[in-house]
Symmetry: C2
Subunit: 303 residues, 2 copies
């Protein structure tokens, strides 16, 4: 239910004029207000005259030594002060955000990225800008992208195989790094090529990783038997080291943790994994977000 405007033809008060009136009230004269505004006196006079015309009543009484407020003017001054306070507060908040002195970035990252890259970046960001807060959540790339699309997150740290992930929709993507995918086998295995592992048992990762594995194997002429699945690259290596199966892992996972009992083999047929950030176009210009992106990029370059 919308309340009907009491005056349908009301032009609504021009907020700029209201602030000019506030200066007049504070200075006690039109000339004084003009001086503080850096204007000439007639300019203030015209603004005030039109404001009074819009208001329908006098706001000040002109005297030889300046002006005094009417009842309407006293009431409006209180409102004008509130308006000025809000604008001042808004300007302060915006300045803090613009300088990235403060702000909150909602980051969604895939689980294993949270292992090294994200902690490094967050630590550096916090050291540089202690007031910037980062909300971190873990989600696989498809869910992470969905969260950004739904405006539940600002930044998604995602990966794709041999290129950016798909399903980005209108989101922008910027790569952080690109890494090879390795073949990881047990100590007793003699095979060194993917095609030799048609009869092996496989340990898969997340659904998309498994999909990529299956695609690579089929390109090599067989369909892998995936017996176990886990995201955890420590668990995976323990399984492989004990001969339960073989697997594939990206380079960074192996650099974060390397089990002594596995062999890591180069296998170009497994392609490369591209890790990067997905975000709504323009979000990279938000200062706090830009700061986090910069630190993520720096952390990625040291991997």
């Amino acid at each position: 239910m919308t309340t009907a405007d009491p005056a349908p033809d009301a032009p609504g008060l021009d907020p700029r004029r209201v602030l000019v009136f506030r200066e007049v009230a504070r200075a006690g004269s039109l000339s004084g207000a003009a001086r503080t505004l850096g204007w000439t006196q007639p300019a203030v006079s015209q603004h005030l005259a039109r404001l009074e015309r819009d208001a329908g009543t006098a706001l000040v009484l002109r005297g030889p030594a300046g002006v005094t407020l009417t009842e309407a003017g006293r009431g409006l001054l209180a409102r004008a002060d509130a308006v000025a306070a809000e604008l001042r507060a808004a300007a302060g908040e915006l300045a803090a955000l613009a300088e990235a002195r403060t702000g909150t970035v909602r980051l969604v990252a895939f689980p294993s990225a949270a292992a090294t890259l994200v902690p490094d970046a967050l630590a550096a960001l916090h050291a540089e800008r202690p007031e910037v807060r980062v909300g971190l959540e873990e989600a696989e790339p498809p869910e992470a992208v969905a969260q950004v699309l739904a405006d539940d997150a600002d930044l998604a740290l995602v990966f794709g195989y041999d290129g950016p992930p798909d399903g980005l929709g209108p989101l922008a993507f910027t790569a952080l790094y690109d890494e090879p995918v390795r073949l990881v086998v047990g100590p007793g295995a003699g095979a060194v090529r993917l095609a030799d592992l048609a009869d092996a048992d496989w340990v898969g990762g997340c659904p998309r990783c498994r999909g990529h594995l299956v695609a690579c194997c089929e390109a090599a002429g067989f369909t892998p038997r995936v017996q176990h699945s886990t995201d955890d690259y420590v668990v995976v290596q323990n399984l492989v080291a004990r001969g339960v199966g073989v697997t594939v892992l990206p380079e960074t996972a192996l650099r974060a943790y390397r089990h002594d009992g596995v062999r890591v083999l180069e296998e170009p047929a497994l392609g490369r994994r591209r890790v990067g950030l997905a975000y709504r176009p323009g979000a990279e210009t938000v200062p706090a977000t830009a700061a986090l992106v910069a630190h993520l990029r720096r952390a990625a370059s040291t991997i």
Copy 2:
């Protein structure tokens, strides 16, 4: 101690643009905001672009289906809503004052005027505009004028002899009525002219009334012996009726109360008393004040 501006070159947010941004946020798109504002889409786009330039950060992220707010935009929206609420409230208050639906008039009146004129006017005003409040104080003309000059009152009901009162300074004066001053004597007196009362005892009124009496008597060739003084025209007539002395009273005082035991004589030498209103120039345009003035004038015309 003034706090230094955090950004000395800050242009300060243009409040009009802030309200435009608010419409964008509420509509969810620039085009939608343009429609509700009755503008074209580029107009809104330019306003928002400049506001973002002034703010130093993006406020919305442009998407193919509209815009979504950034953190800065969400913060600014809250402030903008507060600004809009203040402006709306101010407009409502001003409208009520402009229509004289409400308002407060501070009236200072000389004591005997409060007897008939002021009550009549206040009753009529209250019947017509029950929300308009009148603060009534009693004071003799010089004090009443001083109160208006000091902005402690809006309207002074004052009188002067043979013209407006003096000491008005920059105040405006408008006459309400003009009345003769009568000679009031006891029942036994045979004299009918002022000059015959050189040896009588006199009852005086307020200081200025006494001054006028003395001036008239001196013009008639004698200095009156003023033995008693009271403002109250009932008391005065009682004193005169009992032969304590003679006095002068304005016509309205005699119409408000007439003691049977006094004789009232016309005496042109006593001049006339002019009753009117003193006010700061422009104050008569304030709607509530204008309404009171109109009712005072109407009440005066029926005297």
